[in-house]
Amino acid sequence: MRINHLLLFFLLLTSLFFTSCRRAQKQNYIVIGSTIDIDSFNPYLSTSLFTQDLLDRVYLRLAIEQEDYRTFKPLLAKRWEWSKDSTQITFYLRNDVFWTDGVKTTAYDVEFSFKCATSPEVAWLNAEDITRNIEYVKALNETTLVVKYRYVYPYQLTDINDVWIVPKHIYEKIPFSEWRRNGYFDEKPVTNGPYKVARWERGQLIELVKNENYFDKSYPKIERVFVKIVPNEANLILQFLNGEIDVLPSIPPAVAEKYENSPDVKFIRYPFLAYEYIGWNQRNPIFADKKVRQALSYGINVDEIIKAILKGNAVRSTSPFPSIFWAHNEKLKPYPYDIEKARKLLHEAGWKDSDGDGILDKIINGKKVDFKFTLITNAENQTRKEIATAVQNDLAKLGIKMEIQVYEFNTFMRHILTKNFDAVISGWRVATKPDLTTVFHSEAIKSGHNFVSYSNPYFDRLNDSASVMNNLNNAKILWDKIQEIIYEDQPYTFLYEPVRISGISKRIKPETVKMNSISFLYNLHEWELK
């Protein structure tokens, strides 16, 4: 009798459960899966790229950056005009954009946002360029905004568009000095984009819902967007394959290969504005000679690395500007795998196996030195560790003895920044403005990220002029030349540009989805369900 009761109770519960499931399925929603949570709804306090991807769906910028990183389409600003001397842009804002609490979004909000962006107390991570380049931002009235620059340079629009526009009437309630010690901004975010924040359960779930007052009534098409946080990648992928999650920002190549033909999921591959490289520390006398660096580039079989380790999901890299970037020099061809040429170059540079021990040697400063060095990389990155082993094999064929040392990420960074290494496998995510100063300029050896201590006065000179040139077509000519210099000098052996693989479920119409290096949610408001 008692057991019967219990059974009945459970049946009841189960039926309730399934009815609730059906109810959810009818709704117009998608679930995005992520291994990390966002860090704040205040864009000026956030440090993660994933957070920015999401914040871009709830906050409007002045304009939408296009995939070519050069042109912009109107968004909050209907149109803009340049002054005659190009040091000033006047933006004309839309009159029909409202914050979710009903207050209108005006030019005063933008003026205030600029103050947030440049305030030393806020200490926004991307503040430097904007503080240096923009003199002031002034609202003339609710819809007219003037931006005054200190000088003319190519990325004036990019810079002002990087400023997140936040609601003045909310954000000014907390003094800047208190921002980093106050959870206020995360409680009830006031936004103005196509989506608004319905809830944020830290470490669990974010729910975005359609903003009914969004100025463009035809968007967004999908009414609710959930972000489910699943820190364990295996669990996350299983949920995606299972249909519980509809969108996955990043999928390992091996998984994508295995489920390529599955009818339930679809993979989208797109280039990522980044590249992986081997940096040769030119403080080490072995790597000081550019012939040696060229020989190393010839002697490493990068094509095989891409095929075997990355399953073909990468493009060979030839320069510090990825191939999808407008400044990229297309005439440069990757160094082919040519072991004879590598041998010849090493020979010319004075490296011979004089004692017959199978390892090349050379007299440097009166002392016989073996061609031996250590390559470091970080333990968290499986691909890099595999590449290190491949490189070790390739170089052994040239008579070079290479050791591999793997460090935990923070220790790894310390070795790099203190220049305490011989060679390193690492990667850069490239900024949308072409500027190689922080990475290759000789001034960046002391304070910057030129940790390979590359120095070429000719490069310095060209880079200095190209990065301030206003005419991008003219600048391109210089950038092409600059990339040729880097190509010739090989301060890095450029390995590959990663291809990002994202996944979407069969519920989403693939033709409505556009993903790119700017964001995997680039046009989320246009996505449609089948």
Binding site: S20, E121, R180, V230, N235, Q239, N242, N410
Partner: protein
């Protein structure tokens, strides 16, 4: 009573001492620098130094320590960088999640563990006992990250019975009361099971051994000689005495269930103490790491205290002094 009070005061000082050591260790470690998390080619030294000012990291370590002491005395346990609120609040929210899977796991592992251990002892030497004994060993040695994924693979991915992450469905807010209870229950099953398997095996094995030990005592022989039946001897005379050493395990495992498991919480995406600890370390949120250390060490010490107290209650021979 005075003894317990003394022990509690002692444990507060002890966990504080541990936290102090961790506080200084975090700053001495070569890799633990604030700039590391913000490595970004566009980040200038200038912004970095402003960040240090904003988080009070520009001051000498001793001053930082005094500031931290102040936070401890106000009951905040420090102020978290990433959550922008007092550490005590972060722990307060996380502990609920940890307990939600910890308490069922505690009941499961002690309930089943003792039960199976006793059964195994009853059937000592027989095939059942041998099989059980072997499976204790296997279950105890299974790493929980592997077990968790296998359970997910079977029960969520293939059979689709239990959800594999979080503690609530995404449509939780639209459910009625019963649906909510049921939903929570379904979400708790897999993580609690994963958490309880290894301790369960340990408890079962331990119970079996103490049980066998007790069964060989002379008073059991006396009971047999008196002609009492097997069941009475087993459950009345042997079991209560055999359970006394198991109490030690209770004290040992209490922090295991209440302080959160980094691995299990990561796999099943439960934002409990373990996950909080892992995040705080990776993101170099010093105050949070130190605060959680303080909390966890306190629980460990309290766990020991509780088992001592339970001893005195269950075993009249033991008196606390």
């Amino acid at each position: 009573m005075l003894y317990i009070l003394k022990r509690i005061v002692n444990s507060i000082f002890l966990s504080f001492g541990i936290a102090t050591i961790v506080f200084f260790l975090l700053r001495i470690l070569p890799s633990a620098s604030f700039s590391d998390i913000y490595l970004n080619p566009r980040l200038s030294e200038d912004v970095l130094s402003r960040l240090k000012v904003a988080y009070g990291l520009d001051k000498p370590v001793l001053i930082q320590f005094l500031n931290w002491l102040k936070e401890i005395l106000t009951g905040n346990l420090g102020f978290s960088f990433i959550y922008r609120k007092p550490v005590i609040n972060c722990i307060g929210e996380a502990i609920l999640f940890t307990l939600t899977i910890g308490i069922p796991a505690l009941i499961l592992s002690f309930g089943f563990g003792i039960f199976i251990g006793v059964q195994s002892a009853r059937k000592r030497g027989k095939t059942v006992d041998r099989i059980l004994n072997l499976s204790f060993l296997i279950l105890y040695s299974i790493p929980s990250f592997w077990l968790g994924i296998v359970l997910i693979l079977i029960f969520s991915y293939t059979l689709g019975i239990f959800p594999s992450s979080g503690l609530r469905s995404i449509n939780f807010n639209e459910m009625n009361f019963f649906e909510k209870i049921f939903d929570m229950f379904m979400h708790i099953v897999l993580p609690s099971t994963t958490l309880s398997i290894a301790p369960m095996a340990a408890i079962a094995r331990f119970t079996r051994n103490t049980m066998l030990n007790v069964l060989s005592q002379t008073y059991i022989k006396t009971a047999k000689a008196k002609g009492l039946d097997e069941r009475t001897i087993f459950y009345r005379h042997a079991l209560p005495n055999a359970l006394i050493p198991v109490i030690t395990l209770f004290g040992l495992y209490l922090p295991f269930f209440f302080a959160g498991s980094i691995v299990v919480e990561e796999i099943f995406s439960i934002p409990g103490i373990g996950k909080l600890m892992a995040d705080s370390i990776f993101q170099r949120d010093y105050p949070l790491t130190v605060g959680i250390t303080l909390f966890v060490s306190f629980i460990v010490i309290i766990g020991n205290l509780i088992s001592d107290i339970l001893y005195s209650i269950f075993d009249p021979r033991i008196r606390l002094k």
